[in-house]
Point group: C2
Chain length 392, copies 2
């Protein structure tokens, strides 16, 4: 009896644990939907596109029983695989898939003809096997070349896939060669459907995302720099300093680690046509350079941060440098914030330069106050200034 009770308790203990996990998973999902409703819309778009393409092939035999038959599944497959979050990614995958299928199909048919041309039953498998081996091996190796990987990775994969499938199945069943044309057609239909659904209903542009990501990173730096200067002098107890460092480190990490997503977005954006304020062939590569400068800037701010927290200054010393320091960080921060704003609105703010001049004069003042000093940050900020200038 006692054991049974214990068991019950064990189960009861496990039950809330599992339900807790379920609950936290649910709230996690909710959070994702709330933070970026576009993700929810994207899911509905994908569901709609797949269901409609499926139903198209479901109803199709009613009109014409000699339709696409089993090949119809290639359309559904293409929609599922090609439909990505942003327009650029979808276009990139669609174009890659289309071109690769066409190229590999032609090459596959050519190799197949060559193999049958020899007429020998013994030579045929050797020719086919060798060509599949060599083309698959070379194409796989090309996937390691960074430039090709960035833009054509998916295309090369589909190329290997289609080539080996056509050159092998083509031999066994000559009808399959005719079917290849049907397959290319259905893939085209699927690809076009995916792109249409993606572009027409609430399109998500990778270029816009990239633009906003960089602007937000600059703004974050500005805010943290501005807040940092004022907060540092307000509360000087250890606890708030630690918190300060933690917050700035979090933002810092966000900025530093956004490199990978910036590179992805640039690769997607390159596929996108004219949209909003961005034309096709917008100089997306420049955004990477700005991103790198922002990162360097963040690293400098972090260095300054650890300088300040590690040097033990007296109360009086702090009071002396308070005014120019605060002003300097506020001016620098607002310059960064205005650069971010001018990026977001794509108009030039005339006040940016004056902020930078003010920051520079405060830094001069600070330097004249402490010539003997144990502070290095003015030099840090001096370094910071040119990089903010370039970032604009």
């Amino acid at each position: 009896m006692a054991m049974k009770n214990q068991e019950n308790v064990g189960i009861l203990k496990k039950f809330p644990e599992a339900s807790n996990k379920m609950y936290s998973f649910g709230s996690n999902v909710k959070k994702i939907a709330k933070e970026d409703p576009r993700k929810l819309i994207h899911s509905i778009k994908v569901g709609l596109a797949i269901a409609l393409v499926s139903l198209f092939y479901y109803f199709e035999p009613l009109f014409d029983y000699e339709g696409f038959g089993v090949s119809s599944m290639w359309a559904v497959l293409t929609v599922v695989v090609v439909f990505e979050f942003s327009v650029g990614a979808t276009l990139g995958k669609g174009v890659n898939r289309g071109f690769a299928t066409f190229l590999a199909g032609s090459l596959g048919v050519a190799v197949h003809r060559l193999a049958t041309f020899t007429g020998s039953d013994k030579l045929q498998p050797i020719i086919l096997g060798l060509s599949v081996f060599s083309i698959a091996a070379i194409a796989t190796f090309l996937r390691f070349v960074p430039k090709l990987k960035a833009r054509y990775d998916y295309g090369i994969l589909i190329f290997i896939l289609t080539f080996s499938m056509i050159s092998v199945s083509g031999y066994r069943d000559p009808v399959v060669l005719d079917k290849a044309i049907t397959r290319v057609t259905t893939i085209l239909i699927g690809g076009v459907a995916a792109i249409m659904f993606n572009v027409i209903i609430y399109p998500v542009w990778a270029g816009e995302d990239l633009h906003n990501l960089i602007a937000t990173n600059i703004e974050d730096l500005g805010i943290s720099l501005e807040g940092y200067g004022t907060q540092y002098f307000k509360k000087i107890d250890v606890k708030s300093e630690e918190e300060l460092e933690r917050i700035s480190l979090k933002e810092y990490k966000c900025v530093v680690y956004s490199k990978a997503s910036e590179e992805n977005l640039v690769n997607f954006a390159k596929w996108e046509p004219h949209h909003g304020k961005f034309r096709y062939r917008h100089p997306w590569g420049q955004y990477l350079k700005i991103g790198d400068l922002v990162r360097e800037c963040a690293i400098k701010i972090n260095a300054l941060n650890s300088d300040l927290t590690s040097c033990n200054m007296t109360q009086e010393g702090r009071k002396i440098i308070q005014e120019p320091c605060t002003k300097m960080s506020i001016e620098c921060g607002s310059a960064l914030k205005e650069i971010a704003m001018s990026m977001k609105t794509m108009t030039l703010y005339p006040t940016i330069d004056s902020h930078i001049l003010k920051a520079k004069s405060s830094s001069e003042k600070l330097r004249s106050i402490i010539r003997n000093g144990d502070l290095i940050e003015e030099l840090e900020l001096q370094k910071l200034l040119p990089s903010t200038r370039i970032a604009s």
Copy 2:
């Protein structure tokens, strides 16, 4: 005539340009193969696997004409798609594909039965369309959950794919349902072939790569710290300082930006069985923590670096601090290098602690020399010490 000559010159100019590009591409490819010969071996492995599986299905009808037929292409397709560089990635994709195909197939057949059960021709497309829409939308949204994305992204994609294909094509042609079993079998054969080829011929373990990456990062930090201390005091002209900063920044960026590849490797390594010194369920998550600590360490060293380059010290001042500074950086550097070595060989080096103690005593000495000073680095190094300790 003159124009024609000009044209010729234009073409001649373009020709070496194109051949130059080809040449640089070729040397680029060569470099990749030289830097990591495993990539070349991997390409040959993929070519071999695809060619052999293709030939298996090519010869198969000779034994038994009622074989897999068109379904055979699913085996080739699976090999192409599942075969990844490391064992972990291949296993992850294979398991994902297998489970997802099985689950989606069962669910697809169930929905199909439900739709035919109603017996109404009008209800059927509605039930099918609604189920495809809702399942595709929900599954697509789940792909945004970071935890699911890290491990099951490919599985969810295949789930959507298989479910929509089976529930739609299943209705139109009842024979297709029977074929579904053949399809699952061929996918299994393809998956197993890919995994076998990957594991048996020169396997590349993601876990080992991760282990080495982290150890190399620690070693790099150690080398740069060691070299930094000695070089800083040897040549004090501006040019070498700039170069110094450039070198250390390059290493620094390597360490900081390796976060994404570390996370990928951890995700792959989690799929890997016992190999070498690593068992299944090796605490791979801990490597991410060490990686983060190494990054923090790199950030601290970088902060110290910019401190030193920005503070204008006199020749004499430098001479006074030279001995303890050099010793400190050398001891810290060798501690880091020994930590890296002890990681690589997986044995504990007893001398690490003594290096750290020596570094600490030098740092004490340095602090006693300059109490009034304009140097902050000893505090930086003090901060560095605990993080190197934790990293071990």
